[in-house]
Amino acid sequence: MGRLSQAIVAPLKRSEQVIERVLFHHRLLVISLFALVTLLLVWQASQIRPDASFIKMIPSSHPYVENYLDYRDDLSGLGNSVRVSVATTGEDIFSTDFQDVLRRVTDELFFIPGVDRSAMQSIWTPNVRWTEVTEEGFVGGPVIPPDYDGTQASLESLRLNVLRSGQVGRLVANDFRSAIIEVPLFDHNPETGERLDYNQLSQQLEELVRDQYQSDSVSIHITGFAKIVGDLIDGARQVALFFAIALVITTLLLYLYSRSIAGTLIPIACSLIAVIWQLGLLNALGYGIDPYSMLVPFLVFAIAVSHGVQIVNTIRLESLQDPDPWLAARRAFRVLYIPGLTALVSDGIGFFTLMVIDIQVIQELAVAASMGVAVIILTNLILLPVLMSYAGVGQKAINHARKQSQQEGVIWQRLSWFATPAGAGVSISAAVLALLYGLYAAQGLQIGDLDSGAPELRADSRYNLDNAFITDNYSTSSDVFVVMAVTPPEQCTTYETLAGVERFQHYAQGIEGVQSSVSLADVSKRVTAGLNEGNPKWRAVSRNQFVINASLAYVPGGLMNTDCSLLPVIIFLDDHKAATLDRLSSSIEQFAANYDSDALRFKLAAGNSGFEAATNQVIARAQYEMLAWVYGVVSLLCLITFRSIRTVVCIITPLALTSVLCQALMAHLGIGVKVATLPVIALGVGIGVDYGIYIYSRLSSYLAEGLALREAYLETLKTTGKPVAFTGLTLAIGVILWVFSPIKFQADMGILLTFMFLWNMLGALLLLPALACVLKPHPGQRDPGLHKSVNRGES
């Protein structure tokens, strides 16, 4: 081990010597370079735009999504759509004024870029029809009578048509007081070819539709993925406000802690520069801000502050020896080089491993986070000491530090008890209990959404109120799971196909959570009955192909593709809970496994619930894969740096405990594991590993000097433990205020991050020494009574 560790440490040390010399002999040059790059990246960062896309949220190589993408062109309207409900306060929708508004809103929506016009559905679009059986035969027509002129007679005619169209509960509310316009969207703007700008779309919906047509008598309700994203992007300003509040609090507390203006402003400035660089680099590489990765800049800030405080603190300690700022900064740089670099590199690589998850949003988050951490290496490990070498911490801070080092610090004395065998026992037992509780509670952790509506927004947000309105007044749910029945070309209307699909639907409708389903088979059956005077006894798939063909003379859009090789079966669900989707997908896969043939194959899945099922499956697996990778990388890097497995255990165990308890907290709060919340725990590992590495490095140095564990730990607390405690508490205080955010997603993250900051801190301060005590009995201590000071000088 000795030879191996030499081989690892030596290059690190050589690199440090080189870098140190270059930095501290060319400070102005370094600062100018940084200034230049910062200016450039500020300009880049100012151009960063929200960048959301439906496809990015779903796992692109999951078989369900691959199937969807294969048939995407044939499945218009089943991917991504917005529902606009126009409601009246009057008696019902059959009034001249209301119909006028409805028509104009339909037109307005028609012209919004990105809307799939041919697939739009509203009683005012020509593809929505009514049918009826008379003695003469089958009659039908568009729901809006061709001679509609707003008169009472026309309205009566309209009312009748609506009743005969079967759209009550679908496009017209059950209570007849509102109507829906289904607006399917393309993933890109067909005119410009660029990705659909959800922010712009949402704004257009607001300006062109809601603002223009909402009035005392008419209310507009809008739901759909695009609207959620739009609202989140709108809420970004709120999110930024809360970041700013956290920033201010951190700055104030940092000043109170360090009593040094330079020692407060410079680390905060460097941390902000790190954030700017990160955003600038993201933009330069062509990425945008996704509403679900809005937290990454704050995380970068938090990690940067954590390191910054450590460095400033060390500078302060070195200043006690020698007040020259240049000297103190240079020494502090050297002292913290290895732990700082290790922590940041392991954070960076650890975050990067999130790339294994097959969801683009998370992959982009991995890039953003690891880039942010890489940037911190430059801004907080390099720029910060250089800047501090000019400014110094100030006399006030030095005096404060001197006074504090002379006091014994009762709190630290008490805490150092955890480094004794008795204390270690208590700490470890408490940790084990917490672990058991956490494991037990974490079983309640759900994948996917637990509530209806958009969990990212508050229950009383406009979106969720709109969603509740639509759910209450209409019969078709917004949770749609589409199974693609695939046949050879021109075979989708054979008896075998339709009968097979019919049986499949019957099977699917028996699965718990399924509300209803619709497919071409239903059309054929109903029209066949229609061709027989509406007699329900004829509502079956005929074995006679000519009868089938006659029944499918007019097929509503979306139930068949042009070369007759695809029949979408649209399944409406009661909810989109993970258990429901899971049950549904495995039941359908079972059916497919039993009954698929070359003539008829059932492929999953499209529709928002289909994608969610795929996403849930990927997340369920990814959850543990992700943690395995992050922990693996971080442990490996710690092992390389510290060259001892027991050390790695001491550092990693408190983090693991935090991860388990965080899962338990999520289960307790009813926060499901989704694309947005999946990376949280991995990010928490990155935040916490810094504490462990710094504390352990310092502890080792005191142990090497010959102090007994308790004394060594006491000194560690006084030097490194303080900034750890400070950072943990400060960031937690800054973040806890997020619970007041109108964006529920931010509020949830606030709680989780607060928990992780605090618990990581506690774990590093209380559990790490306990583990060190238990795992590393110390051979041959020198004078245990000797209380060594940190003075270095001549011998």
Binding site: E20, R21, L327, R330, V335, I338, S697, S701, A704
Partner: protein
């Protein structure tokens, strides 16, 4: 073995006077030939001809050389040292750094193949103390050879000027995360102490107190020199040139800027000297 030479670089600046005095003293005590190298014709006709006269009238073998216009000082120096390998280059140190390029003194230090004495002060070397900066824990044979050369030369000069010799050693601040043996202050000091003692006994040099302190080197050595009011500091140099020189620099150059006493720099390429 070729004869020892003293080569003194002069220009018309009054600051050069200290170098002249020092060179004269050395030439006197060791009966060495002294060559004056004027940087330009104009310098030759200097103001302080008094000293020069005194020198000329002494029994020191004097040669006067002059740089031709456009001729590079370094090249001339190198030509000289090629001819006379056992030379000591003497110059008064220049204070100012012009622009981004390394100052003349630094260039000389980087390119010299012989020891260079940069004179900063009038005060006598007589009585000392003389400080010699060594790296006792260095492993590479060139460094160890350099250490020995430094010690030997310092002993010679100490005997010559009846000065006390103090080895001065800077040890680097321990890095957290390093090997445990590196982290203990006590162990570090002990190690350095023992290595220095071994080196001293190895070279047969007798030293007065050993000054060991925490680096960076340029800080500790300079502060030790100031504290002890050293008259002369001996140090070796790696003579990094070009990009390495621009980025990393050399400790001897840093010390040149920081210390008030004279600086005698031994190039790293130098092997054992007599």
């Amino acid at each position: 073995m070729s004869e020892q030479q003293l080569l003194l670089i002069l220009d018309k600046d009054a600051a050069s006077e200290v170098a002249l005095v020092r060179a004269a003293e050395l030439a006197q005590r060791q009966q060495l030939p002294l060559t004056l190298l004027w940087q330009s014709e104009a310098d030759k006709a200097g103001l302080w001809t008094q000293q020069l006269q005194a020198l000329k009238s002494s029994d020191i073998r004097l040669t006067e050389l002059c740089l031709a216009d456009g001729q590079s000082l370094q090249k001339r120096v190198i030509a000289f040292t090629d001819q006379h390998p056992d030379t000591l280059l003497i110059k008064a140190s220049e204070k100012d750094h012009k622009g981004l390029l390394p100052p003349l003194d630094w260039k000389l230090l980087r390119n010299a193949t012989c020891p260079v004495l940069l004179v900063k002060q009038h005060s006598q070397w007589q009585g000392g103390p003389i400080l010699v900066a060594i790296e006792p824990l260095a492993q590479a044979p060139e460094r160890q050879a350099l250490n020995r050369s430094l010690l030997q030369m310092s002993q010679q000069l100490g005997q010559l000027f009846n000065a006390t010799v103090h080895p001065v050693i800077a040890w680097d601040t321990p890095m957290l995360g390093d090997e445990p043996e590196q982290l203990s202050d006590e162990a570090q000091l002990q190690r350095h102490q023992n290595a220095t003692a071994a080196l001293l006994s190895d070279t047969g040099v007798e030293a007065d107190s050993i000054l060991i302190g925490e680096g960076p080197a340029e800080h500790w050595i300079a502060s030790a020199a100031a504290d002890h009011k050293a008259v002369l500091l001996l140090i070796g140099t790696k003579a990094r040139r070009g990009i390495a020189g621009a980025l990393l620099g050399n400790t001897s150059e840093q010390l040149l800027d920081r210390v008030d006493c004279d600086l005698l720099v031994l190039p790293g390429a130098l092997g054992e000297t007599a």
